[in-house]
């Protein structure tokens, strides 16, 4: 029997990418705790291992061995299903993100992207529209009024910001003329006005970038949009009743969402794996491929830092302010941006 190596490569890629993003989570958790500590003039984790580097390992062990009690009053099926959904949804988004340039080794093509989908960006929006279910079902199944309120808030918030996010994405599709992620990155690798400044969408579509950034924060339920958790009023929001690994799933899902949202912003607005002078378009050598993955990783890292920085700088919104921002500011702004983009295109 002949082995189809291309197929083996593709399958291996899916598994490696999944466990790759899984490994990023403890790094993110450590980064968050360390950065927040320095922002608050503390030292952060520094007891477990050198510089506290083994803290995530200790956290993982703790969440595995904690008493996993299911309160007697919960809906047991949904209670287990909800954290799973909250974890899997953001992970799936990563499947369509191109995180490097195509490599060709001995005739085998290695594309650093799990699935080069024709409708890549629509797939992302599709997953985003399902993203809220984990939280609302977690809140409902907990049979706790605070959890229910947290879940409801999360889902109403995600709904409100999904519209603006979709509209921001439409203006990106307009500039790329395609929904394929690779095409969206491709447009951004061209020079702007005949210079070496790349035509990144952050330069050509600044309004869409601002709108998308705000909605990205809202969709990940991070401060200043963390009303779903709102510890000061809702105890812990949708995960009040959760403990041990099921809680860890919500927790990891949140960091995974930060990671994939950063990766998405990099792909849509910051040129993806492209950086002028470092990566070349059309060069399928191994070196170029690795450099492009490195460039992508660096950009994502900077955005993740921005996410953390914001979280520990801004206070939480009030719910009416949240709704006002979503419906009365971001939505008209995004609509205006579409019309503006169309007029500028016609010119």
């Amino acid at each position: 029997m002949q082995i189809n190596w291309q197929l083996v490569i593709d399958i291996a890629k899916a598994v490696i990418v999944f466990f790759g993003i899984l490994t990023c989570i403890p790094i993110l958790v450590y980064a968050e705790r360390k950065i927040c500590a320095y922002i608050q003039d503390r030292r952060g984790p520094n007891r477990v291992g050198p510089l506290g580097l083994l803290q995530p390992v200790a956290d993982a062990i703790k969440s595995f061995f904690k008493e996993d009690y299911t309160p007697s009053h919960v809906d047991k099926v949904l209670f287990t299903l909800a954290p799973a959904m909250a974890f899997i949804a953001p992970a799936l988004v990563f499947a369509v993100i191109p995180f490097g340039h195509l490599m060709e080794i001995k005739g085998y093509k290695i594309l650093p992207q799990v699935f080069d989908m024709n409708i890549g960006i629509l797939f992302v929006l599709m997953i985003a529209s399902l993203g809220g279910y984990g939280l609302i079902l977690g809140g409902w199944s907990s049979n706790n009024k605070y959890s229910l309120l947290g879940g409801l808030r999360a889902s109403a918030q995600m709904l409100s910001y999904e519209i603006a996010m979709g509209l921001a994405v439409i203006s990106i599709i307009m500039t790329a003329g395609s929904t394929r992620m690779a095409d969206i990155v491709g447009v951004q690798t061209q020079g702007l006005w005949g210079t070496c400044i790349p035509a990144w969408n952050i330069i050509t579509q600044p309004i869409a970038f601002i709108v998308f950034l705000c909605t990205a924060f809202a969709e990940t339920n991070r401060l200043p949009f963390d009303l779903a958790e709102g510890d000061s009023e809702l105890i812990g929001g949708y995960h009040t009743e959760y403990s041990s690994m099921k809680f860890a799933m919500f927790f990891m899902g949140e960091y995974l969402a930060v990671l994939t949202m950063s990766a998405l912003i990099v792909t849509l607005f910051l040129g993806g794996w492209y950086f002028p002078g470092i990566t070349e378009v059309g060069n399928t050598s191994l070196l170029n491929g690795i450099l492009s993955i490195f460039v992508f990783g660096t950009k994502v890292g900077m955005l993740v830092f921005f996410f953390i920085w914001t979280r520990w700088t801004l206070p939480r919104f009030r719910y009416d302010q949240l709704m006002k921002l979503g419906w009365k500011i971001l939505l008209p702004l995004a609509l205006f941006n579409i019309i503006l983009t169309a007029i500028l295109g016609l010119r």
């Binding site: 595995f64 061995f65 008493e67 009053h73 229910l148 519209i163 009416d320």
Partner: protein
């Protein structure tokens, strides 16, 4: 059965790819939840008692039932959301072909006009809900005496 189009076969490898990705996710989630349950059962202590099993409300005894009547605004937000979601979705095909239509000036202007009219009508809808105060979270429901803080 009629031929279900041949070009799915070219998707196939990638298709298995994304399914594999999904399966890896599902397997990971449930394996780790199961593992933690087994570990907690083997090594951890389990001391359920009625107080611990009851609803957590900051250590106080739970007040009332868990199912509260929540604000109807959540429902109205979901209603408005569906309407605008359909709008966003209807604009996707337009956005994709707009760039190609730019090659022909007359075509592009027609395309722009079609989108503009569509969006304009929906902006009227937005203005309607805005004026009616349905985008306002803190809103007077029937009671005219309470002025909005906003």
């Amino acid at each position: 059965m009629p031929n279900v189009s041949n070009n799915t076969s070219q998707y196939l490898f990638n298709y298995t790819n994304v399914l594999l990705f999904l399966l890896a996710g599902i397997a990971f989630v449930f394996a780790s939840i199961a593992f933690s349950r087994i570990m907690a059962w083997l090594l951890g202590h389990r001391k359920p008692d009625p107080i611990k099993q009851s609803t957590y409300e900051c250590g106080e005894l739970p007040v009332g039932t868990s199912f509260i009547r929540f604000n109807i605004r959540f429902y109205i937000v979901a209603l408005i959301f569906i309407i605008f979601d359909v709008e966003v979705v209807a604009l996707f095909p337009w956005a994709i072909i707009f760039k190609k239509s730019l090659a022909l000036k007359g075509d592009a202007i027609l395309m722009f006009a079609e989108m503009f009219v569509f969006v304009l009508i929906l902006i009227v809808g937005l203005i309607y809900v805005w004026r009616k105060g349905d985008l306002q979270w803190v809103k007077t429901l029937g009671d005219k005496n309470v002025k909005d803080k906003e």
